[in-house]
């Protein structure tokens, strides 16, 4: 019997992912990484399943208590929305690019289904789906009679998460192309977020947290009541109590799911027919070639590549997202003047990794032209560092400027935070030199899909992120608490020392590494 197109696409996806890992890391490396991932997933997935299972069991036992469906409805919605939105924004690595499948005689919905199923291969959606599975499994154990309903709800929520992931991924890509629209939308979100903490302000004075929570309780309760997941849990509770009307409450969420599916399918169809964007030429392109040294020319070229790509343009929206987070969900944490800017700087740094850890990805086939230039590896990398610094520096300036509107900032912590950002940047860029040379991957110039880092780079960035957060973040906190006047001088001194070390030792060493691995770059990208 012939294999169905859906199965064929998924099998090819698996084969391509495995082949790619082997190509990047060698056969033994791929096996070792696969094994490590398996062990890690067992150690992470099992506790997650167990923990969420206990929570789900409590839900099942207390489903009759009116507040329980509300709380669990909110939790489930958060998991679905966060998993879908983050998965969509971060993009994923596609072993088989969906664009390459359009020549085959398959219907858009088959392609869509394959795309959705492959979405479970992304880390965050997979983790969130495991939590959802645990919650529903626990609830089913507490109420065996309702197990089929919980299974249905789990499938619906997992599907909603994957649909959201596809939809957000597609929208993020087209919005990154329309930077002004995105900035306007985020500006609106920022304004909306800034209203939240003032929600309970009365008579010009700020009431205490309890009073604010009480004031918010009414609207939040209404919101939680309206959530599809809450409606579904209330429906299950109603059915268990013997009221057939509970079925009606299940219909709403399922209809909403169908609507979401329709919307996502439409987006995929539109994407498939979208004409290729023409490359604009402007006076900026002419100015690109006015430089004094080869390194400056390389820096301008790389800067142009970055700001011309959706990934690089989207980076300028991240400061706005960071400010929304600080003003909205994190708005209740006290003393924002102490933590908000360094925390936002750290967040900003995390989102810049795709460009820092894959510094040649945007070149694609153009890597050959770069390698043919009569320049040493050090110059090639230095050009990249300047371009990345300009890109990240601009992000930091936007962030600081925006932050000044929402948090009272003082000069010392601002200087220290910017120096903290520079230290993180330099560390990531230096590590990124090596990983970009050894594990390069093409980055799409016309989209945000397929821009995920190789697993080795992801794990390295996580390791560096944890160490730097521990050491530099710890030092920042220590100085901010014990000797605030030393904050700026110490971090400035560290930044200068790091810049000197980079120039003196790290860059030449990375240049030699590049010389030794030119073939790897050419093979992977050329």
């Amino acid at each position: 019997m012939a294999v169905s197109p859906l199965r064929a696409v998924l099998l090819a996806q698996l084969q391509a992912t495995w082949n790619r890992m082997q190509r990047e890391m060698g056969r033994q490396g791929a096996w070792a990484l696969g094994l490590a991932m398996l062990v890690l997933s067992v150690f992470v997935a099992l506790p997650l399943l167990l923990g969420s299972g206990i929570g789900g069991f409590a839900l099942g036992r207390n489903l009759d208590t009116p507040a329980v469906p509300l709380v669990y409805g909110a939790i489930h919605t958060l998991l679905v929305v966060l998993g879908g939105a983050l998965g969509g924004l971060l993009g994923r690595s596609q072993g088989v690019a969906q664009e390459g499948l359009r020549l085959f005689p398959i219907r858009p919905r088959t392609l869509f289904a394959a795309n959705l199923a492959a979405g479970l291969g992304s880390l965050l959606p997979a983790v969130f789906t495991v939590i959802l599975a645990g919650l529903h499994l626990g609830a089913s154990l507490a109420r065996p009679l309702a197990a089929p309903l919980f299974l249905l709800l789990f499938l619906a929520q997992a599907l909603a998460l994957l649909l959201l992931q596809a939809l957000v991924g597609s929208l993020a890509e087209s919005l990154a192309r329309r930077l002004r629209v995105m900035l306007f939308l985020l500006g609106f979100l920022l304004w909306l977020g800034s209203l939240l903490p003032n929600f309970a302000m009365r008579n010009g004075h700020r009431p205490n947290l309890n009073a604010q929570m009480e004031a918010l309780a009414g609207p939040l309760r209404l919101l939680a009541e309206a959530l599809p997941a809450t409606q579904a849990f209330q429906g299950v509770a109603s059915l268990l109590a013997g009221h057939a009307a509970g079925l009606m409450r299940l219909a709403g969420p399922l209809l909403l799911l169908a609507l979401l599916a329709l919307l996502s399918l439409q987006r995929i169809r539109r994407e498939a027919q979208a004409p290729e964007a023409a490359t604009p030429t402007s006076s900026r392109d002419r100015r690109l070639w006015s430089f004094r040294t080869p390194v400056a020319g390389l820096a301008r070229l790389h800067w142009q590549s970055m700001v011309g790509s959706p990934l690089g343009r989207f980076a300028f929206l991240v400061p706005v997202i960071a400010v929304v987070l600080v003003k909205g969900p994190l708005g209740r944490i006290p003393n924002p003047h102490l933590w908000a800017l360094p925390a936002a700087v750290y967040y900003l740094n995390l989102t810049a990794l795709q460009l820092q850890y894959n510094q040649f990805g945007l070149e694609g086939g153009g890597i050959k032209a770069l390698m043919l230039l009569p320049l040493e590896g050090t110059a090639l990398l230095e050009g990249r560092t300047w371009a990345l610094l300009a890109h990240h520096g601009l992000q930091l300036l936007i962030l600081t400027g925006l932050m000044a509107f929402v948090v009272p900032l003082r000069p010392g912590p601002v200087v220290a935070s910017l120096a903290f950002g520079f230290l993180l940047f330099l560390g990531n860029t230096a590590l990124g030199h090596l990983l970009s040379v050894r594990y390069p991957r093409p980055i799409a110039r016309k989209g945000m899909k397929n821009s995920a880092l190789p697993m080795v780079s992801t794990l390295s960035s996580m390791g560096f992120g944890m160490v730097s957060a521990g050491l530099l973040g710890g030092l920042y906190a220590l100085l901010a608490w014990g000797a605030p006047m030393l904050l700026a001088p110490v971090f400035l001194a560290l930044a200068l020392l790091a810049a000197w070390s980079y120039r003196r030792w790290i860059l030449p060493a990375a240049g030699r590494f590049l010389e030794a691995h030119r073939e790897d770059l050419m093979q992977a990208l050329g």
């Binding site: 084969q15 020549l103 085959f104 005689p105 004409p275």
Partner: protein, 252 residues
């Protein structure tokens, strides 16, 4: 009763913003023909091929392939045709046999049949990659051969080839030419674009010449030559699209 033409275009138009890439293109290609589609860079050849293979939606106009309306049933059309795009559109992180297995499955073929055809295609095309070699690591010529193999695997009745002879050596070129001639003898309709006029002249009895998205000439090569009074295809092509001779470089 005449059979339906293999390819029928009616007032086909494609516009990208202000730029008209294909303008009012109408033609009918009888089944079993071998059409050479010619034009300068940017003449609209690749856009036309993308539209007739369902990769681009026309701004207006209709496309019928083997009697099927492309807009009404694109999947049925894709089942009946084979396509070798200029960029080859291969899945680079599969091996050659994995890619052909995937292609065959997408066309609903049994795995055993796919493997049999794959072996025959590899033999005919002299494609001998080392086991486990990914498509990404194939040479350009090998990729061309693999793309052709994938386009032929399911036995299409109409084959579109976008620049199949670009960037390949003489031996590979000869292999592909022989294969295409054999296909035409078996009644497969072929549509080919190429900048190598000698190859088109030798292979394609039917010629269409596009310039700035418009059809400047269409018909059997002999008829077109007689009509324009040209000795060969190159003369005919230059007569129709223009192109003045340029002088030497000043510094050489």
């Amino acid at each position: 009763m005449n059979p339906a033409p293999a390819l029928a275009l009616q007032a086909l138009r494609k516009q990208f913003g202000d730029k008209v890439a294909v303008d009012d293109l109408s033609l009918e290609v009888p089944a079993g023909s071998f059409l050479g589609l010619l034009g300068r860079n940017g003449a609209g050849k690749s856009t036309t091929l993308k539209m007739v293979t369902g990769l681009l939606k026309p701004t207006s106009g209709r496309i019928h392939i083997l009697g099927i309306d492309l807009e009404a049933d694109p999947v049925a059309v894709k089942r009946a045709i084979g396509v070798m795009p200029e960029d080859m559109a291969l899945l680079e992180y599969l091996t050659g046999p994995q890619y052909l297995r995937f292609t065959g499955r997408m066309h609903g073929l049994e795995d055993a049949e796919i493997d049999r055809r794959t072996a025959e295609l590899f033999e005919t095309l002299d494609l001998v990659p080392a086991p486990g070699t990914l498509v990404a690591d194939y040479s350009f010529g090998m990729k061309k051969k693999l793309a052709l193999g994938a386009a032929l695997l399911h036995g299409p009745r109409l084959l579109f080839l976008d620049e199949p002879f670009e960037g390949i050596d003489a031996v590979t070129s000869r292999t592909i030419k022989d294969l295409l001639t054999g296909l035409q003898r078996k009644g497969v309709t072929l549509v080919l674009t190429s900048h190598i006029l000698e190859v088109v002249e030798r292979l394609c009895p039917l010629i269409a010449i596009l310039d700035e998205g418009r059809l400047l000439g269409y018909g059997p090569l002999e008829e077109l030559r007689a009509r324009e009074g040209s000795d060969n295809l190159e003369g005919l092509f230059l007569d129709l699209v223009g192109g003045a001779r340029k002088g030497d470089l000043s510094w050489l």
